[in-house]
Symmetry: C2
DNA sequence: GAGTTAATTGAAATTTAATCTCAATTTCAA
DNA sequence: TTGAAATTGAGATTAAATTTCAATTAACTC
């Protein structure tokens, strides 16, 4: 279970798996997809569990540090996260017209990035590759 | 001259090339590299020209809309911009600790992206590739 | 269990980049 | 010169995220 990974991560730091942390964890792992901290907070609130905004943010940061959650991007309206456990890393193509998102993965690109990091003595931790343009449907119409 | 492009962009919208806008423009195009809005504001202030923080931000947004300046990333401390006129496309590595930005360019990655777009019948227009991690200096300390 | 220590929590305050407000000023075409 | 429209700047506002700190909770020792 993923929660065991989190528990181990916490105890390795002398931290405890409290009810609030469990609540945040469960809400995040209850579904697959992107989420924003504020909506996460509201969902937890709706679910009946008590967890303050501060605790949600604090737990979220812990989950990122543990590697179970990834900060995907920063938008005008704040950060966007997704839980990564069991998900293979992927990148995105975004259609400028209909906002369709196509996921893709390229081993070759991944390797080239590693190579570039090595060359620059940079220790890459994560990356975002987003291609913007027109999807098949919308591209045909132009 | 790049400023002519800006002037045309402005007049196309019924906007004027004021002294403040010229000052922001000049400061940005006076050097090559990344910059943050706040530092830009301070530099303009130091240069003796009067331009309020609000005007600097407003002009910056106009420059982005005109295509002369690009918002390249968002850090914890805010947005980072660079002027793109006459610059070849490149991607970035961003240090999570010190926010240092390293530019890189890979023909191979560019080609792979084109290939992926073709495979997905996606017409790519632009892309952002950002690798986040630790630069040489900050990576050594962990 | 009781006592001790350290971690945790939540409400509110704070921080900070960026935007907005709006009265005063400037620009420019007629 | 005049008037409509754009622009400016000082300060207020916004909003995400973090911090503060007193009160609470958990875990450990005896």
């Amino acid at each position: 279970m993923e929660i065991e990974i989190f528990r181990k991560f916490l105890s390795g730091r002398g931290l405890k798996l409290t009810n609030q942390r469990v609540a945040v964890f469960n809400e995040i792992f209850a579904f697959h997809g992107h989420f924003e901290p504020e909506r996460l907070y509201l969902k937890i609130k709706d679910s009946g569990t008590r967890a303050s905004r501060a605790s949600v943010y604090r737990t979220l940061n812990l989950l990122v540090e543990s590697g179970l959650v990834e900060k995907i991007t920063r938008t005008e309206k704040g950060n966007v996260y997704e839980h990564t456990y069991g998900h293979r890393h992927h990148d995105h193509m975004v259609c400028e017209v209909c906002d369709e998102i196509i996921e893709f993965y390229s081993e070759k690109i991944e390797n080239l990035q590693d190579e570039i990091c090595r060359k620059n003595n940079f220790r890459g931790v994560s990356h975002t590759l987003e291609i913007r343009g027109y999807c098949e449907k919308c591209g045909r119409q132009r």
